[in-house]
Amino acid sequence: MSASPAPAISGAPKLAKRAGEVAALVRELGFSAASVRMVRTRTVLAAAQADALPEVHRHTVRQLDATLTWSGRTTRLVTTNLQPEALAAQLQGTLQHLQQGPPELFAPANSSSWRAPPPGPFDALDRVDPALSPADPGVVRGLALALAKPTGATVSVKAVAQAEAVARTDGAQVAGHHTRIDLSMASPHLTLTRSSRRLAQLPVAGRLVDLYQGLAGVQAAPPVALGPAPERLLVHPEAASRLVTALVGLPMRTGRLAERLSVLADPWVAGGLGAQPFDARGQATRPVPLIEGGLQRRRHTARHHGDLRVALGGKRLARLVGESDRGLVVRGWRRVEVHPATGAMHLEGYGWRVVDGTRAAPVPRMVVSGRLPELFAKLVGVGADPWAFGGARAPTLVFEPVEVTA
């Protein structure tokens, strides 16, 4: 079956052309099949501390990642040496190696035919990814300094612009591009991270400083006695995202979860950090249900692309707090330990006590133990406010009753 050419290479046409040329060269040299992935990555990284000079790194890397097959034997070549003569020599050497090397070394060929990405994901990505240029180094450095000086935190801001194209010897071609920015503010007691597709989508520096100082204040508040009565736990979307990420990584049949919980691995989320219409071999990606109505469908692994997306409810955190007579808001986790096999957990968080629908007092330490699936069996509410600054887009989650200790 011959694959039709991919319709969408407009995201990185020059790179797609280059990948196509390499795929043609591979075919000419005598390989029986190949998928050629060309990636161009431009990175700006700024690191700053209040009492030290800042560092700025700007890296531009072009890389070829080729899966090459000859006579049922497959190998992989990754190289940044893309000078035409050097590349041809490396490919010829690889072919010679496939032909003359011992059979013990080579994986069998992957004979799966190409699945063309449908137009939908491409359109979705194009809407959020107009032609983007890498972030300005001066802006990135300025942001790092603006965050580091007032907070005393160690700040790193990393902006990446990446274009990639995949060309296969069966004629398939896809290409796309995306940007990403990751921000981290860290001190011994508090780490704040934010990620998004574009710098403009992040909160402004002043808000981040206020938030960091506010959360540091919560952590420095005097200890509050908790228990023994079970609590209503309202988990902020940022903190809920960490729990959902840990939950979907657990093995199957770890327990029955609340019916209102559904989680997808979704590569089609508009503006999602993990949004990508095709994988490293040019194959179309698809949303994959991980948990449906409380039932685990499959374990989340690196094979699943995209963001974790939680089916939403109807209310935001503020309204859920307002409707709670008594409870605890978990704003963040200082420590999340979940055993990857058993789901046994130890969670150490901080947040506020809720009394009569308002945040009454900061709670610097609250500890939840048990098994994570059992916590999700107590899920009684799902918010409408998905977390927008990470790869897991969980909303506010409400658990009840939960035993919490200080």
């Binding site: 890397v61 000078q83 013990e104």
Partner: protein, 414 residues
């Protein structure tokens, strides 16, 4: 026939089959004589590098250096099911400068004069003008520096592949549960040009074979790991050396699997009903089916313990391992979900029969569900258990349980 043909391959590659070596260039010793010698194989011209150094010296920077790197990584894996081979070439040029405003680094995977010039432009460093033809050229600021690191040669990947196959098959013949060999080799070729004009070239080459095999012995499943250097494949007859190494690996694994070394060997542990109840309560999940991970004290109070009915049991009476009758101290649940016991009365069960284990011996129970093994008690059965010095009343249907892959510490066998 297969093995002998592979041995032939190894013997026939006395020159390490450099022809099939891809991406791991056999380095030639380069005498440190001139800058041109040091630039051999580097796609930068000496004249342009000289201009770059003069530009860095003219710029208002405190320190600066240019680095060119060619790093080759080979990764080959061979186990019973999935062979695999990958190689990576990373080529790049980096310019790093220190100024009064901070540290700045620019890098590119394109290595040529134009790319290096563009990197300087990103740092706002102006290139000094080229020497006009007919005028006297300034003296070159470049000066060679002797190598700081050694050099080496790696065996050809073809030789390594055949050797790994021989090794895994030989180990597999000793009936391990699994066998795997992984080859990882790195060749790192670096050129560094400092602002003072010093030019240094260094080459680091290294490779290692990591072998893993799982064997069943007296103490249960035992995984053995050994690391070999590239010399394994560089002798006059690599096949013989590989097979000798495999035989030694198997012998070592057998010796370790049969000899019960209390500090290292995983053992199975059987706890009687009372101790099982104490341990399950200490775990904080007294339903007997699973464990939890926590580092807080268990809650005092009435606790119910339940295990599955007898017909769903998959545990068999313990014949090898440790049987615990009583504890010297309450069980202690650690933060990683494991439990530490200090025994008072216990027996070590082996082919030689049961022997008493000294009081005070510590047992470390890993996270994982216990397997019920003994007959059920008539429910409800009430025990008084002292957990973390808190009296706990337990109504239980718990049986004795087995926990596998435990560790004995400080054991003294009577």
């Amino acid at each position: 026939m297969f093995v002998s043909s592979r041995r032939d391959v190894l013997r026939g590659t006395g020159g390490l089959a450099a022809a099939v070596l891809v991406g791991c260039p056999k380095p030639e010793p380069v005498p440190v004589a001139t800058v041109a010698d040091l630039l051999t194989g580097v796609p930068l011209s000496e004249a342009f590098l000289s201009r770059v150094v003069r530009s860095l010296q003219a710029a208002s920077v405190q320190d600066a250096r240019v680095m060119v790197q060619h790093r080759t990584v080979q990764h080959a894996a061979r186990d019973l099911t999935e062979p695999g081979f990958e190689q990576t070439h990373q080529v790049g040029v980096v310019v790093r400068v220190e100024t009064a405003e901070g540290s700045f680094e620019v890098a590119s995977s394109r290595v040529d004069d134009d790319a290096l010039g563009a990197l300087l432009g990103k740092l706002d460093i102006q290139l000094v003008p080229e020497v006009v033809e007919g005028t006297e050229a300034p003296p070159s600021p470049l000066r060679p520096v002797p190598r700081a690191t050694g050099e080496g040669v790696l065996p050809a990947i073809g030789v390594v592949g055949v050797g790994m196959g021989l090794f895994v098959d030989a180990v597999r013949a000793a009936t391990p549960q699994s066998a795997r060999a992984t080859w990882h080799a790195v060749s790192d070729d670096r050129l560094t040009v400092a602002r003072d004009g010093s030019v240094q070239r260094s080459l680091d080459v290294g490779g290692r074979l990591v072998a893993r095999g799982s064997f069943v012995g007296a103490a249960g499943l035992r995984t053995v790991r050994q690391v070999y250097g590239p010399g394994l494949f560089e002798g006059a007859d690599p096949s013989t050396e590989v097979l000798e190494a495999a035989a030694a690996f198997v012998a070592l694994a057998n010796a370790q699997a049969e000899a019960l070394s209390p500090a290292e060997q995983p053992v199975s542990v059987e706890l009687n009903t009372r101790v099982a109840a104490e341990v399950l309560v200490a775990m904080g999940r007294p339903d007997g089916g699973s464990r939890v991970r926590f580092d807080g004290p268990p809650k005092p109070g009435a606790t119910h313990l339940h295990l599955p009915p007898t017909d769903s049991l998959d545990g068999a009476p313990l014949t090898k391992g440790v049987r615990v009758a009583s504890l010297a101290e309450p069980p202690r649940c650690l933060a990683d979900g494991s439990v530490q016991l200090v025994v008072s009365e216990a027996q070590l069960l082996s082919d030689a029969g049961p022997r008493p284990l000294a009081a005070g011996t510590r047992l470390h129970l890993p996270a994982g569900p216990p397997v019920p093994s003994g007959p059920p008690l008539d429910p409800p059965h009430t025990l008084v258990v002292d957990v973390m010095n808190e009296p706990v009343v337990v109504s239980t249907t718990v049986r004795s349980v087995q926990i596998h892959r435990c560790t004995l510490e400080g054991a003294h066998v009577g």
